[in-house]
């Protein structure tokens, strides 16, 4: 059987043509009995409808579950992020849901230097410098 080279597959670059929102689902849990869910209950009754209407690409799932309330974001890359909203007010929960919807599910990076400012998958446009292609009259001789 002859060996065949792997044919090049197009790389996925979100945003180059179409843009797909990386966050696919946000799950909110609450408890009907506990006091730590008071802010969450207020949020669900007052604010959630407007936020869900603002993000038509994202599924908002509300679950009744005993214990402290959480919000969970699930992403296209299979990762999920969980934030505890125990004893938090509706405004705080609103901010954290905004944070979950704007992220891509990647692991948070520690820091990036100046060289990581631009990430490119293209070949270098100006090429790699070569001593063989300089003018022979100027070329450095060892």
């Amino acid at each position: 059987m002859p060996i065949r080279a792997i044919s090049q597959v197009a790389t996925a670059r979100n945003g180059l043509g179409a843009f797909i929102v990386p966050c696919k689902r946000v799950t909110l849990t609450y408890c009907n009995w506990g006091g730590s869910s008071q802010g969450m209950r207020d949020f669900l009754t007052k604010d959630l409808k407007a936020i869900a209407a603002k993000h038509p690409q994202i599924e908002f799932k509300v679950m009744k579950k005993e214990g402290h309330p959480i919000i969970k974001g699930e992403y296209n890359n299979g990762k999920e992020k969980v934030i505890s909203v125990r004893k938090r007010d509706p405004l705080w929960i609103n901010d954290k849901i905004y944070l979950l919807t704007q992220q891509s599910g990647k692991k948070l990076i520690k820091n990036f230097g100046k060289k990581q400012d631009v990430e490119s998958q293209n070949e270098s446009i100006r090429g790699i410098w070569s001593p063989m292609h300089t003018d022979p009259s100027v070329r450095h001789r060892v």
Binding site: R13, N14, G15, L16, G17, F19, V21, P22, L99, T101, Q102, Q103, S104, K106, L108, I109, K110, N111, F112, Q116, D117, V118, E119, S120, Q121, N122, I125, R126, G127, H133, T134, D135, P136, S137, V138
Partner: protein, 168 residues
């Protein structure tokens, strides 16, 4: 390839010709001053002609853009990590970059340090992600004291993708 470089570098070789002897130079320093009248005259407005850039065989372009004074060298499809929260934009929003210093390809470069005219190009990008870095911890302590406190920081950054880079 060889010929192309040789033709481009021709004036450089002239510059590197050996200097004349020191004694043969009549005056080392000139005492001329720039006359104010000549500086006050309005310069003739030149129309920039980018046909060499457009018609050269290497089609792909690069551009040096400025965002809040910080320069980034980008091509089409690149990701830019902006080290701050772009408050005005959410993910999926399109931004037009209008502060461009350089546009070029393999053979030619057009550079204007004060900024290229906006009619000549179109560069836009999409906001992909608005996120934060890892929690960083820093201990603040004074000398010869036992007390110290910790400072926590999670600095925000915005990721955008350049999806259009072309000359008009």
């Amino acid at each position: 390839m060889m010929q192309r470089f040789a033709s481009l570098r021709a004036p450089v070789s002239k510059l590197l010709t050996p200097r004349p002897a020191f004694a043969s130079i009549p005056r080392l320093f000139s005492t001329s001053t720039i006359s104010q009248q000549a500086a006050a005259e309005p310069e003739a407005k030149t129309v920039t002609d980018l046909t060499p850039l457009k018609l050269s065989p290497s089609a792909s372009l690069y551009a040096t853009i400025k965002v809040h004074g910080r320069q980034f060298l980008v091509t089409e499809g690149d990701i830019i990590n902006l080290p701050y929260n772009v408050k005005e934009a959410d993910i999926g929003d399109k931004l037009h970059l209008n502060d461009v210093v350089t546009i070029g390809n393999r053979d030619f470069t057009y550079h204007q340090s004060e900024g290229i005219s906006q009619d000549l190009y179109k560069i836009s990008c999409t906001v992909i992600e608005k996120t934060k870095k890892q929690l960083s911890k820093r201990i603040i302590k004074q000398k010869r004291t036992r007390e110290y406190r910790r400072a926590f920081n999670k600095s925000p950054y915005t990721v955008v993708r350049v999806n259009e880079l072309k000359l008009n």
